[in-house]
Amino acid sequence: MSVDENRSTYGKCNNPYGHGHNYRLEVTVSGPVDASTGMVCNLVDLDGFVEREVLSRYDLENLNTLKEFAENVPTTENLCVEIFEILQRGFPHAHLEKVRLEETMMNSFEYAGSAEPRK
């Protein structure tokens, strides 16, 4: 895009010095309740995976400098899809239903892969 088009498309978000958000991430998984543990999956495993593979990669980082955003603009749409794919590739202990990402208290994004998020 040209300088003008970037400015008109992204407005204040086009400032090359960047800006921060306090994102909130919700990961929803589903599955049968295991008879012996009473769990869908061990939350310690899920928390550990998210901490290791998502938070340690993105927390307090400049997203534009990461390789997945070298060609994709780090909109919350694209970040949401990226996080879904990380979980889908690497977390085998339950079925990934959706990822919901809040950019602010007023905006949020959901991605469920090819499925429609459950109502």
Binding site: T9, Y10, T75, E77, N78, M106, E110, S114, P117
Partner: protein, 136 residues
């Protein structure tokens, strides 16, 4: 397909009354909500749209435009209004949270271009909300 939700808040007053019912029936069915002097709520509106992420912009929809449409079509009409008297839909329908959600859907759906309206959620109080998906 990514689903994007934008929130807004508005304050409005209303009362429930159906002229087809007798005064006694109105009182019985609607209880305290039948007081013709109205009562207020701080409504929270959540509008969810869905669409493919545009490969160039990375957007499903321009959030600024969505906010402007919500402000123009809904908030300007309903915020700080007595819904029964000042909002055309509610001259003939009771402004229940159900009917508010439907009215919001009907106001927004024709104005959205790239993204498709998926859900309108209206909270009347933090404990009570209505979802409308545009299904009959």
């Amino acid at each position: 397909m990514v689903y994007l939700t934008r929130k807004a808040e508005f304050s409005a007053s209303h009362y429930y009354h159906n002229p087809v019912f007798s005064a006694e029936e109105n009182r019985r069915i609607f209880g305290r909500c039948n007081n013709p002097n109205g009562h207020g709520h701080n409504y929270t509106l959540e509008v969810t749209v869905k669409g493919a992420v545009d490969a160039r912009s990375g957007f499903v929809v321009d959030l600024k435009q969505l906010k402007e449409i919500m402000t123009r079509e809904v908030l300007d009409a309903m915020d700080h209004r007595f819904l029964n008297k000042e909002v055309p839909e509610f001259l003939t329908q009771i402004p229940t949270t159900e009917n508010i959600a439907i009215a919001v859907w009907q106001r927004l759906a024709p104005k959205l271009q790239k993204a498709q309206l998926h859900r309108v959620r209206v909270y009347e109080t933090p404990d009570l909300f209505v979802d409308f998906y545009g299904e009959p």
